[in-house]
C-alpha cells in the first residue's frame, strides 16, 4: 500500500488591504497560524515550499522566508505556475511525504499585491503571461485574454453574460459569511451586468479584485499529533493530477478542452473516485468565465449548464455541491498564489467541521482545482475526510 499524505494544519490572513505589510510579513502570519493549527514546532518542519510574490521577485524566496521565519528545512524551494502554484505545491508536498523525503512540509505563499504596487504595475506584470511578440504588444491584458476566451465560450455554448454573472453573485453571498473576505457588499445579477466594462463580455464584477493576503498549509506523513483534528477527523490528500497543454491563449486549441478535464481525470484515477463521489468544491475563479468553464469541462455541470445549476441552488452552501464557501477569488479576494490556496484551506475547514458560521453539511470528498495563465496550467486535488481508526 502506498503511503498517504495528510493535511495537518491550515492558516491564513484576512484578504484585502494590509497597508505596510510586506510579502514576508504576510507569509509569516499565515505560516505561524498553520503551524499552530498543526500543533507543530518550527523544528518539526523539514520541507518548505513557497510560491512567488510579484511584489518581491526574489531569486530564492523559500530560503529568504526560512531565514526570516527561523526554519532549517532539509528540502526547500519556490514553485511558479501562476494561479496553479498553490495546488501544485500541495501536490509536490504530497509526493515528498509519500516518497519519504519529508515528514512535515510547510506550503506557504502571500503578498501585498494590492498595497505594495500601483494598480497599473500589477496589471502590466500580470499581462506578461501573454506572448511578448504576438499578444502583449497589442495592448492585451489578462482580462483581455479572458474576455476573448469568454467570447468564444459563449459563442459555442449559447451562454449569456447573465449566466456568468450568477457566479459573481454566489461568490459575493458566500464571502459575506467569512469575516476575512475582501469584498462583502451584496450584489445582484443586474449589478454585475451594469458594472463597468473591462474586456467584453467581462465587466468589473466578472473579475476578481487584487488583494493583500497569505495562506499556508502543512502536509504531513502522519495524520496529526492527536490523530487528527479535535474530533479525530483526518484529511488525506487522496489524489492529484496536472495538465499543461499551452501557455498562451493563441495556442489554446479548443476552449472546450483546455486541460482541466485531463488533470481531473488523473486525480480521480489516483483517488479511485469519480465526479459523483464529490460533495464539496473549491474551484479557481479568477473570472466568472474561469469558474463556468472549469465546472463544465470537469463535469460538475453539463456543457452550458453551470449557471442553471447555480440558479437551482446546487452550488449554494445548502446545495448538493457547495462551491467556494469562503467566497472564492471573486469576493474573498486574490493576492496571487495564496488566492488559489484559500480554496484548499476552506475545503480543509469544511471537511474538519471548523468553518464556524459558514459550516455546511460535513463533506466527505472535496475537489480542488486551480489553473494558471489563461487556463494554461491545471492542477486538480482530491481531499478526503477519514475518521480516526
Amino acid at each position: 500500500m502506498t503511503a498517504t499524505a495528510w493535511i495537518t494544519g491550515v492558516g491564513g490572513t484576512a484578504f484585502g488591504r494590509h497597508e505596510g505589510q510586506g510579502a514576508l510579513d504576510l507569509m509569516a502570519q499565515a505560516a505561524r497560524a498553520a503551524l499552530d493549527d498543526a500543533g507543530l514546532r518550527r523544528a518539526d518542519i523539514d520541507g518548505v515550499l513557497c510560491g512567488y510574490a510579484t511584489t518581491l521577485p526574489h531569486l530564492m524566496l523559500s530560503t529568504l522566508f526560512c531565514e526570516r521565519f527561523a526554519l532549517d528545512p532539509a528540502y526547500a524551494h519556490s514553485v511558479q505556475v501562476g494561479g496553479a502554484t498553490g495546488a501544485a505545491m500541495l501536490m509536490l508536498a504530497r509526493e515528498l511525504v509519500r516518497g519519504g523525503r519529508c515528514r512535515h512540509v510547510l506550503v506557504v505563499a502571500g503578498e501585498n499585491r494590492l498595497s505594495g504596487q500601483s494598480r497599473d504595475s500589477a496589471i502590466q506584470t500580470l499581462a506578461q503571461v501573454g506572448d511578448p511578440d504576438y499578444e502583449v504588444p497589442n495592448g492585451a491584458s489578462v482580462p483581455a485574454y479572458y474576455g476573448l476566451m469568454a467570447s468564444r465560450y459563449l459563442h459555442e455554448t449559447g451562454l449569456a453574460e447573465a449566466d456568468l454573472a450568477e457566479f459573481a453573485v454566489l461568490m459575493r453571498a458566500n464571502a459575506r459569511r467569512h469575516p476575512g473576505a475582501h469584498l462583502s457588499t451584496p450584489i445582484t445579477v443586474a449589478d454585475v451586468l451594469a458594472s463597468k466594462p473591462i474586456a467584453a463580455p467581462l465587466k468589473l464584477m466578472d473579475c476578481c479584485p487584487i488583494s493583500d493576503g497569505a495562506m499556508a498549509l502543512v502536509v504531513s506523513a502522519t495524520p496529526g499529533i492527536d490523530g487528527g483534528d479535535g474530533d479525530g477527523t483526518r484529511v488525506a490528500l487522496a489524489g492529484a493530477g496536472q495538465a499543461h497543454r499551452h501557455q498562451h491563449l493563441s495556442a489554446m486549441a479548443d476552449v472546450m478542452d483546455c486541460g482541466a478535464a485531463v488533470a481531473a481525470r488523473r486525480a480521480f484515477a489516483e483517488a479511485g473516485l469519480g465526479v459523483a463521489d464529490i460533495d464539496h468544491l473549491g474551484i479557481y475563479d479568477s473570472f466568472t468565465i474561469t469558474l463556468t468553464m472549469l465546472l463544465e469541462e470537469i463535469g460538475f455541470a453539463p456543457r452550458g449548464g453551470a449557471a442553471a445549476r447555480a440558479r437551482a441552488g446546487d452550488f449554494s452552501p445548502d446545495g448538493a455541491l457547495p462551491l467556494n464557501t469562503h467566497g472564492g477569488l471573486l469576493s474573498f479576494g486574490h493576492c496571487g498564489v495564496a488566492g488559489g490556496m484559500a480554496h484548499a484551506v476552506e475545503a480543509v475547514r469544511q471537511l474538519t467541521g471548523r468553518a464556524g458560521a459558514r459550516q455546511v453539511a460535513r463533506p466527505r470528498h472535496a475537489f480542488v482545482h486551480a489553473d494558471g495563465g489563461v487556463m494554461s496550467s491545471h492542477v486538480s486535488l482530491i481531499l478526503s475526510r477519514e475518521e480516526a481508526p
Binding site: 504576438y134 497589442n138 495592448g139 476573448l148 467570447s151 467584453a200 495556442a251
Partner: protein, 147 residues
C-alpha cells in the same frame, strides 16, 4: 531554425514601418515581417502543419524543420473582445479598442486589433498600423465585392 529561413530582404516599394525588437531570435521573422506588412507564420517541413505563435518544434509531429511563409492576410474571426480598461498609458489613448483572435486561412491563430463592431465568424482581411513605435495588425471586414 535561424534567419536563413526568413523571406528575402527589403526591396524598393515594399512597405516599411517601425519594427519592434523581437523578444527572441525565434520570433524575429514574425516581428520583422510586421514592419514590412507581411503576416509570417511557420509551416512544418515534415507534416505540413501551420503553427500558431513561434515554435522550436511542430505542434503536430514534433518535427524541427519549420520554414517561414507569408499568409495572404484573409481570416475568420474566432474570438472578439472590446478592451475598455487599457493596461498602459500607451494604449489608454486608443481605448476602447477591439482585440480579436483571427483564424488565418492558412491555419494559424493570430491575436490582433480589429475594426469595431465585428463578430465571431466574420470574414476579415489584415491591415497594418503603427502605435507606440511598433507595427501592429488590424483586421477589417472583407469587402465581398473585392472577391
Amino acid at each position: 531554425m535561424n534567419a536563413s529561413s526568413t523571406p528575402a530582404a527589403d526591396t524598393s516599394g515594399v512597405p516599411s514601418t517601425p519594427a519592434a525588437t523581437p523578444s527572441s531570435a525565434l520570433a524575429a521573422p514574425f516581428v520583422e515581417g510586421l514592419a514590412r506588412h507581411e503576416l509570417r507564420f511557420q509551416r512544418c517541413g515534415a507534416c505540413g502543419a501551420a503553427q500558431s505563435l513561434a515554435r522550436h518544434a511542430c505542434t503536430r509531429c514534433g518535427g524541427e524543420a519549420l520554414a517561414w511563409e507569408t499568409a495572404r492576410g484573409t481570416a475568420t474571426l474566432h474570438a472578439v473582445t472590446v478592451v475598455a480598461r487599457a493596461p498602459s498609458d500607451a494604449f489608454r489613448a486608443l481605448a476602447p479598442y477591439t482585440l480579436v483572435l483571427a483564424q488565418l486561412d492558412e491555419g494559424p491563430r493570430l491575436m490582433a486589433h480589429a475594426d469595431a463592431g465585428l463578430r465571431i465568424g466574420e470574414r476579415v482581411t489584415a491591415g497594418f498600423f503603427v502605435h507606440d513605435g511598433r507595427t501592429l495588425v488590424r483586421f477589417a471586414r472583407t469587402d465581398p465585392a473585392a472577391g
